[in-house]
């Protein structure tokens, strides 16, 4: 067994342990845990038996096993980017809505000056935590 295999398999075993631990403690949904375990297992299989990637690569018409791994990695990164981007956009939209809500609620409204007397306003204001 070469050094890379030892390091890689150790790392993957650790990752699998962390994944299982998180699932048991309820920090990770079961379906997500199963997905990640599948990924770690596939990676471990590819590292332990390099011939496996070659067999799959040939079946798909790709020359070398290493190429198959490379293509799969790039594809996975692209898919990840897509979901990350969509989520970022949703997050930005939520942030904008929140900022807008606060801005409108706390508008410096000229009509307030006439409806709320200065004393009523100072009573309403709560002391800030730092004060």
């Amino acid at each position: 067994m070469i050094v890379f295999q030892v390091l890689g398999l150790t790392l993957l075993a650790a990752l699998a342990a962390v994944t299982v631990g998180a699932a048991v403690r309820g920090k990770l949904r079961r379906r997500s845990a199963a997905f990640w375990l599948l990924v770690w297992t596939a990676a471990a299989a590819a590292i332990a038996v390099p011939k496996l990637t070659m067999i799959v690569a040939h079946a798909l018409g790709i020359g070398r096993g290493a190429d198959l791994v490379l293509y799969c990695t790039i594809l996975a990164i692209l898919v990840g980017f897509f979901f990350l981007f969509a989520r970022l956009r949703r997050l930005e939209e939520d942030l904008t809505r929140l900022v807008r809500h606060l801005a409108i609620r706390e508008a410096s409204d000229p009509s307030d000056r006439f409806t709320v007397s200065p004393t009523a306003r100072s009573k309403k204001r709560r002391p800030s935590p730092g004060a």
Partner: protein, 226 residues
């Protein structure tokens, strides 16, 4: 429609140098000016308030499109009959506002867009002119509207249009987004000539060549993910 049913929205980000003068100029005729301070780090809010504007302040900077939408939503909730958007950097002229409001007051249009190419922009640098021409072409390609000026901040919306518009692109691509929504809502629109004053200040604050790519990117991504 009386002048106090018209809300003029001025989105502003770090415009302390010009905002007071802009608010005063508009308020000389239209008393209800709403400045949306988009998380400025300078005195924009204070100057605007001192000049008599209602100030809505974004806690963090969200971009001009977001600021405009905040103003439009506020105006809609306040029951404005007409919403005018006006730039904070002093490049628009308050004298043009009646010309934008008129078609809405008469019920002839729901959205009126200012066009510097129908009107005048005496100091416009040549580079800016070509950039804006390209923007018009881009707009024609993607929204199908035949306009002469695509990215002018001086616009007017009827109450109906203000209620229907929902801008989701926070940064500068909202100009194209507004046009898409005009088409989507099927509301009558028109362009009127306006004057745009180019000053060193407004040029420094304005969009440059590379920003156009960013805007186009934001717009196309918005169409993919919205």
């Amino acid at each position: 429609m009386t002048d106090d049913q018209i809300i003029v929205i001025v989105p502003a980000y770090n415009e302390a140098a010009t905002i007071g003068r802009v608010v005063e100029e508009v308020r000389a005729r239209y008393p209800w000016v709403v400045v949306v301070d988009d998380g400025s780090h300078d005195d924009t809010s204070r100057r605007a308030r001192e000049a008599g504007a209602v100030v809505l302040r974004h806690a963090v900077n969200r971009g001009q499109g977001a600021a405009l939408m905040t103003g439009i939503e506020y105006a809609h909730r306040r029951g404005a009959s007409c919403v005018v958007t006006f730039d904070a950097d002093g490049q628009h002229s308050a004298e043009d506002i009646p010309r934008l409001v008129e078609p809405i007051a008469r019920g002839e249009a729901a959205i009126v867009l200012g066009s510097r190419f129908l009107g005048a922009a005496p100091e416009m640098p040549r580079g800016r002119r070509w950039l804006l021409r390209a923007a018009v072409l881009f707009t024609r390609l993607f929204s199908g509207l035949k306009l002469t000026d695509a990215h002018n901040g001086l616009r007017a919306f009827s109450a109906e249009a203000a209620a229907g518009i929902e801008l989701r692109l926070d940064r500068m691509a909202h100009a194209s987004e507004i046009l898409d929504q005009i088409r989507g809502l099927g509301l009558p629109y028109r362009e009127v000539p306006v004057t745009v004053r180019y000053t060193d200040y407004s040029l420094a604050k304005g969009q440059r060549g590379l920003d156009a790519l960013r805007i186009a990117f934001d717009y196309l991504v918005g169409r993919l993910f919205a």
